[in-house]
């Protein structure tokens, strides 16, 4: 089958690009080895959380400095204004999840470890946990629910460096009639969807929380009905209620994946999981077709353009072999951020500045992967998300922001290939 654009990867970057292209009338195919990091990440859009060791209050003002100091940073290839446009677009396309926040100020949301984490956007089920406002918090856990300990959260949050002091306490509840010892977030979310757990939760909390306390619950309030259940809790408890991101699996992230893939399907895009893009048919510097390996062989899908959003090391978009050689796994593209052969590749401490942390493809301002001369390898190939080199997302807290911004910008570059390269970076 032929397509206007083939998107490789079904994470946030790939889905963003695919949806943007689909709604512009393109026929889009998304191929991926499996599901992406949406199911692991907390569903927030983190544009820039840290500049060095300093927490960023306004990504809008600090992204420019980042781009100025780090020549290859992906945000440096996102045209001026596109970052704001991308976030606005994202918010509109995920309307049912009600993303709150803006580029000008980071929310400060508690993690499951009780660390305040800066995010530009968060679903409204979470945004009520913004710690900047101060006040009294109660963190609720469910006994037996792994890796979510309200006491740990409350103690850590109470000690955290925050603009306004807060108080926090913990409350542990016992879920009714659990049929098993091993409870995952997915199972509890399913019970909220189908078994009216919200009624139980409302009754359990009603007389145990003061009117001025804000209630943090694990982000497992339902998968299909999460937003609805959260609203019901707020309305009936007459308290501010917010979800706290859990360790994987991320129910809030699955809601986001479902929202984006449902919109894609409704728009006529095809999503094929469990297959592998293995290469391309090319004419000079142009990709004519993407080769996709399925159950028996390889099928070539003719396409006008390609968005490569196959992820970094963690997702197999880049591989490092036992000799230390790094390789982009689909098109064998040149990589940046790889230390010279005789240099150290790994620093001893996990949180040290790791030499390979910024590895990825380097691009021009249309997000086209470039060779060492700076020329695009293929004129109709654009990259987005974690495959891009030059960023250290875990440290910057910029991963999802880069995905949304570059997914959006890559789609724009596909739609307007003739547009002049924008030299100016994000303001």
């Amino acid at each position: 089958m032929s397509y206007d654009t083939v998107v490789v990867g079904a994470g946030l970057a790939g889905l963003t690009a695919a949806l943007r292209l689909t709604e512009q009338g393109q026929r889009v195919l998304v191929v991926a080895r499996g599901v992406g990091a949406t199911h692991l990440a907390p569903a927030t859009v983190d544009v820039l959380g840290y500049a060095g060791d300093a927490r960023v209050e306004s990504p809008a003002s600090d992204v420019a400095a980042l781009v100025a100091s780090s020549r290859d940073h992906p945000y440096g290839h996102v045209p001026a204004g596109d970052l704001t446009a991308a976030l606005d677009w994202f918010r509109a396309r995920t309307e049912a999840l009600g993303y709150a926040g803006r580029l000008e100020e980071n929310l400060l949301l508690p993690t499951a470890l009780g660390v305040p984490k800066p995010s530009a956007l968060a679903p409204r089920t979470m945004s009520g946990g913004d710690l900047r406002m101060g006040g009294r918090f109660v963190f609720v856990g469910f006994r037996g629910f792994k890796d979510f300990h309200p006491t740990l959260i409350a103690d850590n949050i109470a000690r955290a460096r925050l603009p306004t002091p807060i108080s926090a306490r913990a409350l542990e509840l016992v879920l009714p009639a659990q049929r098993r010892v091993d409870m995952s977030g997915r199972l509890i979310a399913g019970q909220f969807d189908t078994e009216n757990l919200s009624e139980w939760l409302i009754n359990a909390l009603r007389n145990r929380v003061d009117p001025d306390e804000r209630i943090g619950v694990p982000a497992v309030l339902g998968l299909r009905r999460g937003d609805e259940i959260w609203q019901e809790l707020e309305t009936r408890l007459e308290r501010k209620v917010f979800e706290v991101a859990t360790l994987p699996p991320s129910i809030a992230g699955i809601r986001l994946f479902d929202a984006l893939t449902n919109a894609l399907r409704a728009g006529g895009a095809r999503i094929v999981l469990g297959v592998r893009a293995v290469g391309a048919r090319t004419t000079r510097a142009r990709i004519d077709a993407v080769d996709v390996a399925n159950a028996t062989g390889t099928v070539s899908h003719p396409t006008g353009a390609v968005v490569l959003a196959s992820g970094g090391f963690a997702s197999g978009g880049i591989e490092l072999d036992s000799f230390g050689a790094a390789r982009e796994t689909v098109f064998d593209l040149p990589l940046i951020g790889i230390p010279e052969a005789d240099r150290v590749r790994f620093a001893p401490g996990y949180f040290d500045a790791q030499p390979l942390a910024g590895a990825g493809v380097g691009t021009d301002d249309l997000l086209r992967p470039v060779d060492s001369e700076g020329s695009p390898v293929f004129t109709n190939l654009h990259a987005a998300g974690a495959i891009l080199g030059g960023a250290v997302p875990w440290k910057e807290k910029s991963g999802t922001g880069i995905s949304v911004a570059t997914g959006y910008a890559a789609a724009r570059a596909v739609l307007a290939p003739a547009a002049p390269a924008v030299a100016e970076s994000v303001p």
């Binding site: 089958m1 032929s2 195919l29 991926a32 080895r33 499996g34 599901v35 992406g36 199911h39 692991l40 049929r179 098993r180 091993d182 995952s184 997915r186 199972l187 399913g190 994987p248 699996p249 699955i254 479902d258 893939t261 449902n262 399907r265 095809r270 094929v272 999981l273 469990g274 297959v275 592998r276 996709v292 390996a293 399925n294 159950a295 028996t296 062989g297 099928v299 963690a314 997702s315 197999g316």
Partner: protein, 420 residues
């Protein structure tokens, strides 16, 4: 044994994505989930059987493998572990029986009216549940009486036309021969001569029920029937997605068969809709479709997704004027071949299917489309709607139901609602 299946467990990063998708572990504590039972438990199995019998509660839908971003062959690991379990315990009679559709078909066909009465009689089914262990409410198709193989023998198709070999599978042969006739009619309408090779079960039900030696015998025999056609350069087309996948991939990956004939057949296999869509891409599919003003929900079965070919049925049906297909986003109907027939698994199977049933019911349509036969029977059972193979919609859109020009399809042979 090709150990890339077992070796793949080293790629597991414990991300739990498979756990969030497993339709079985979400509805029963009896199956702890694909990650635990698959890559994690496999590490401790070594050469011996699984110490943990919960692997038998894996339905084998394969969704875990499809969503795994690290290429861990989770479902395949589980399938092999199940076989080792039953190798030691001995496969129970019930499982031996329901895993041999050809045997069941040959027994039931000559006495179809009686067999159909028994299959749908409450008292008989109650007794069968007690004695054999097949759930009294599990969806059972009706024997057609005259098999597709027999019907096709009297059919005279075009002579001077490019040929395709048709692998119709057991479901079409014994229960839905009219579907086979529709497949032939659509292929002939597109200028093909349809060859119907002699054929038996592909061995998939035996594989799912853990009897690998018998499964290998069946698939080898089938492949020997089909290989001459593949060798002659003919495409082999199948309307049974799970049986097609068995030949494309599973016989090699799960049963570990290394065989030139199998390889040849694998490479020549096409799912029916995949084949027709490829024709369309070459501009060779006839598009003289009449209007079909219907809104029909479409469920791509888990095994269809395993082909990695997208949803060609939707691409094809998009060519039909006034036909609006609703793409459902549910991974599994619960039946998983023979899984939902078993008395201890029927409730699980229906609980898995509930989301799909609800979504189909919510569309308000009295018709649903789905590529796989057992899934269609399950959908009909769970919703009360008529569930058809997508080819039936194409067949109707071509107007072949009115023309009967193939000589095979007669007014009496029109599809009846699938048995509930």
């Amino acid at each position: 044994m090709n150990d890339f299946i077992r070796d793949s467990l080293d790629h597991c990063v414990k991300c739990t994505i498979c756990e969030t998708y497993c339709p079985v572990s979400q509805v029963t504590p009896l199956f702890p989930g694909p990650k635990y039972v698959g890559p994690q438990a496999e590490r401790y199995r070594g050469a011996g059987p699984s110490a943990d019998a919960s692997v038998d509660y894996c339905s084998g839908c394969g969704i875990c493998t499809q969503v795994c971003p690290q290429d861990v062959k989770i479902a395949e690991i589980n399938s092999r572990a199940r076989a080792k379990l039953w190798e030691k315990r001995g496969v129970p009679l019930r499982n031996q029986m329901i895993a041999r559709p050809t045997v069941v078909g040959r027994l039931g066909t000559p006495v179809a009216p009686l067999a159909n009465w028994a299959l749908h009689n409450r008292a008989v089914r109650g007794a069968v549940q007690r004695v054999v262990g097949i759930h009294r409410d599990a969806p059972m198709p009706s024997f057609a009486g005259r098999t597709f193989q027999r019907r096709s023998r009297s059919h005279r198709g075009p002579v001077d036309a490019p040929a395709v070999a048709y692998f119709h599978g057991c479901g079409t042969n014994y229960y839905e021969p009219v579907l086979g006739e529709m497949v032939v009619a659509v292929l002939e309408h597109n200028g093909f001569r349809v060859i119907v090779p002699q054929q038996d079960c592909c061995g998939l039900p035996l594989q799912s029920n853990g009897n690998f030696p018998a499964a290998r015998t069946y698939v080898r025999r089938l492949v020997d029937h089909l290989a001459p056609h593949a060798r002659a350069g003919l495409p082999i087309v199948s309307n049974s997605t799970s049986c097609g996948l068995m030949l494309k991939r599973e016989a090699h990956e799960i049963l570990g068969i290394e065989d030139d004939n199998l390889k040849l057949v694998s490479e020549s296999m096409f799912d029916l809709c995949e084949f027709l869509l490829r024709l369309h891409e070459r501009g060779a599919l006839r598009t003289d479709f009449g209007s079909l003003p219907l809104t029909v929900p479409y469920h791509a079965p888990c095994q269809q997704r395993g082909h990695g070919i997208g949803k060609p049925a939707l691409d094809l049906l998009a060519l039909v004027p006034d036909l609006h297909m609703i793409e459902l986003d549910v991974d599994c109907c619960g039946i998983a071949g023979t899984y939902g027939l078993k008395k201890e698994k029927y409730e699980i199977s229906m609980a898995v299917g509930k989301r799909l049933f609800d979504d189909i019911t919510a569309t308000g349509s009295d018709l649903a489309a789905c590529d796989s036969e057992t899934c269609r029977w399950q959908i009909a059972h769970g919703t009360g709607v008529t569930a058809v193979h997508p080819i039936e919609l194409l067949y109707r859109a071509y107007g072949l139901d009115r023309r009967t020009r193939s000589g095979l399809v007669t007014a009496e042979a029109q599809p009846t609602p699938v048995n509930r």
